[in-house]
Subunit: 339 residues, 4 copies
């Protein structure tokens, strides 16, 4: 870490900081400038005591700046090749693109099965569908729960599609993991670290959504929780961040795809449906996502969005999804040539 001392601080007050830095286990290397002194504190910032706390006890410190990256296992330093995740036989990452589609919520057998058949015919290989739904209001539809999981398994049996579904509660991890091929962690739970650890223990692939106002560094550190608990099968998922813009529900941050891939070997998926909250923008956002290097898409598809029990406004219908997949082909081909 770098400790910046306020200009014109007397030498004995600088020495007091140096002494404390040493006491906290770092090797202090002061550099005396004309007006200002800085102290480079050599040591492993990830596991040592943070020196930022010093600012509360030593008013002669102007600021403390970390130097090292806080994540390790998710970074290219730890693994030079892209992680490729095996989702019950389907590969995701490292050149293998995954099309995940399905309804926001599982609502009924008919709704789910007609959707599963339709997205499969259009080219999807993984079926999404929420059995447990995190809803802003307690008065909104909360999902079918275990019955929803049963229907997802039925859809898998019939169509062969792999299953991704969200897990909301530590109490549900076991039975969701029994029914799903990928455990989805939603944006609201992305720093619910105990849930992350519980999911990590299952060994199942995990799709980790970025939080509503989570910096990329924090998102990667949330993934680091999963990897450091023994599960390397993490997909990052950009799903829109919260900004001042009100035209869309969220602002899909496509640059985060490039940044996450620059910083990490993990595959990056994009969820354009949540990302904008408007069905009419989903197709064009998918094109952008593929061009930016996304390893997969997570798209909400519903037989009749206008009557959906949750988030109909952002779900495309069967025709819309067909058209979307077709319009993506040329972009996927360029990506495949590069991979």
């Amino acid at each position: 870490m770098i400790i910046v001392i306020k200009p014109n601080t007397p030498r004995d007050q600088i020495d007091a900081v140096i002494k404390e830095v040493e006491k906290l286990g770092y090797d202090p290397r002061p550099i005396f400038g004309t007006n200002q002194t800085i102290i480079a504190a050599i040591g492993d910032e990830r596991t040592h005591h943070t020196l930022i706390s010093l600012t509360a006890g030593f008013p002669q410190i102007e600021q403390v700046m970390p130097v090292q990256k806080r994540y390790k296992l998710v970074s290219h330093e730890s693994r030079t090749q892209p992680t490729v995740i095996d989702v019950d036989g389907i590969k995701v990452g490292g050149g293998s693109f995954a099309m995940m589609a399905g309804p926001c919520s599982v609502e009924s057998e008919e709704q789910l099965l007609t959707t599963a058949r339709s997205v499969k015919a259009a080219g999807a290989t993984i079926l999404r569908g929420g059995a447990y739904k995190p809803r802003t209001s307690p008065y909104e539809f909360q999902g079918l729960g275990k019955e929803g999981l049963r229907l997802l398994q039925l859809a898998k049996k019939e169509t062969g599609l792999k299953i991704i579904t969200e897990v909301l509660s530590e109490f549900d991890v076991e039975h969701v993991a029994a029914a799903a091929d990928i455990l989805q962690i939603g944006a609201r739970n992305t720093q619910n670290f105990r849930l992350l650890i519980e999911c990590a223990k299952t060994g199942k692939p995990i799709l980790l959504k970025r939080g509503l106002s989570e910096r990329v560094e924090e998102w990667l550190l949330a993934a680091e929780y999963i990897l450091s608990h023994g599960n390397p099968n993490v997909m990052l998922c950009e799903r829109g961040i919260r900004t001042f813009e009100t035209y869309t529900r969220n602002t899909l941050d496509l640059s985060a795809v490039a940044i996450a891939k620059k910083e990490s070997h993990l595959p990056v998926i994009v969820d354009p449906s949540q990302g904008c909250g408007r069905a009419d923008l989903v197709q064009v956002l998918c094109r952008g996502a593929v061009a930016m290097g996304a390893d997969g898409l997570l798209i909400e598809v519903h037989p009749n969005p206008a009557e959906a029990l949750s988030d109909g406004q952002q779900q495309v219908d069967f025709n819309g999804f067909n058209e979307l997949v077709k319009s993506l082909q040329p972009y996927l081909e360029i990506a495949a040539r590069k991979a």
Copy 2:
């Protein structure tokens, strides 16, 4: 809800929307303007199907605007008097101001007990201290867990201070509730609805922090989860929101105190330590919070902030806390005259 139809939409396409609105259980009242038609859809928006989904199925709709408030039990409509919460004999809200103070994390018996004695002497009535800590990185100190709870109980026994501590996991609710007088839900878990419900069931007072980028409406709806699961003892806690500003860790939104009190009968607490992440701003932020009508404060105090195991930079020391309490007196007196 109000459905705004795009200008120059032919009548039959308007009728199609009207028909669908009826089908979804609302009473549609169209108003035909010169250029534009709107449809007022009469019905209980809280429990009915949301009409926003219509935008995905009916391109002739420009937008759908909700009219009713989404929260009920937390609002003044449901309860005209301010909620006063009984924390094992200490009142919070409705004119009773609560001073909660203590270390960010419980680190040791000595650290906790000296702090407890000191904050009590200065005037605090409730002791804070984290036994379970949500940390951005898995490599950071995660709290003492059950041993931390034991120490909190010890401090209560010795000083008589009531205990507030954070609960991170559904698995921990029971033993945290056994040790604590107030269950604290942190900013990262504020929309972890299953944890909210689990905490609600204990009947214990709950302090619900506002999420990092949670709108006041969403915060109140999170509280509504707790009330609608049978527990009316909720304190809202503003603790800083995430903005573009980098001088402070978060931007403490003091206006949220006034807004929350305008919209709800629940007491509102302010956490200035998290709110700014800098010990040198805590005192002045406390003054602002009291002037804005806060019902209490939650302040981080540590015997030696520079060596704290978590967030030392925002913790004040014993002298700092003493001075802070004294500087607040005149503001508390004005508030008391108004209450």
Copy 3:
């Protein structure tokens, strides 16, 4: 507009609002629900008095919601075909893609001319270069001013490239317009309406950057200032918005390209250099921009970015730009097939 009356408001207080609505020139149409009354106020919201002011005078009003769009000339209602702008013979928009490139600041004759030759050889048709620079600190390089304009003209004469350069001051509009083919309005001046009007009067094409925290609606209204002052030649330019993310200087909002094109007939340009503030992300962001339907790019290129007098960190060098243009070809071809 829609006026939402608070639940349980007595009839005479509703009537008072109705009377005031009439007085302000609207035709009020009340709709009485079971609990709540709303008043639809029919009238032209763009030119009439705003009813939002009513909330200050009538506490029985819960909220006032606008219904109509505030922009007119920039919208598809006013013009069904995409605007194609003629930049001294070069077309921009409606299927014609513009590659604009050059240094952040004009620094010297050699720097500018070598860059001009290089970007032309790579395929650019418009040369960018700042003669007047808006710098956050008064101690930073403020541009060469008129000498910079002279050099830009020299570069145009030699290479035939058209010139885009920023105008900062109403006092400079005349001489900048004499030297430039496109007047650039920077993010910090996007709501400097008097400057917009002064630039509009020149009749020159104007590239209007989106403000750091400008909603798309506000950006379009800024463009509306220019169109309503008689100049239809506006290009919108997305250049990154300010968010909580600190990895990049700004967050490039590629979804804004799709939204702006959905709402307006004006061409949309993307500036990835400002958008991220990092040279190493520029190429991938350009790919995303093209896939999202951008009508052009504005890219910072410098012979030696490490020694640039402004924003070197986001400028690519000549090789970088060559490679970037080549990597874009397949994406431009798909776009051309669609146009």
Copy 4:
């Protein structure tokens, strides 16, 4: 500045950076850690070349971190006593509190004069009123212009109140300065540096509003433009920042008052009317502002807010202002005791 080299960079690549740092006029002091090297570059960061540009030319650099503060004249280093501004005989700052009030826009002689008399009677000493109005839409009321200035002078003559009014255009600076005692720079023009310089030259006191998404550092640097152009009479004005919250128009950042005073000797004024955009929150926000140490308030007052030509929703009426001033007395008394 601190240059952080990527881990495991070979020595010759480190040397290349060191050489370039020297070439750019800094004294490089490398510190070789176990895994990572950092280079402390000693030199005046305010006036030298910024080393951040190096990241574009030297991929072995991970990041460059500035160490010094970028502002000088506005900081306590340059002036240890608080700046007290003389507004035609009225003092602002250093313990002298200024109450500025008046309509958002000057609309008519009667509107202005009745307001001036009323706010004076209530205790205001400075009259606000916009003659030139920056409006988001070109179709909204743009102010009375020179006629508005004439009315402000009339009001001054009659009541003795000093005048503050906004200047939007470099072309208007001269005649606005002739009519006003304080030149107000609005949030949208806060980084319109040429306007700042033009206003600085008049020597008049300037109230500089914080931009919608301006970091405190940038706000102080905008003030630094004015001071470095020879005008020390700057008041900073917090007026709400743009966040994700939609309940209020802006989020008033009261912590910015404390931060600005911590970093600068300039007086800090708070504008609660713009800050929240709701008349019903103005009073409580004023209390918070005074408790946080504000040196003055800028409050919008209108004889009949419901019919105001601009922003009526945030203007209080005469009774409201009277009551507000009374409610502030106890807070001002505490502040006076401290000053």
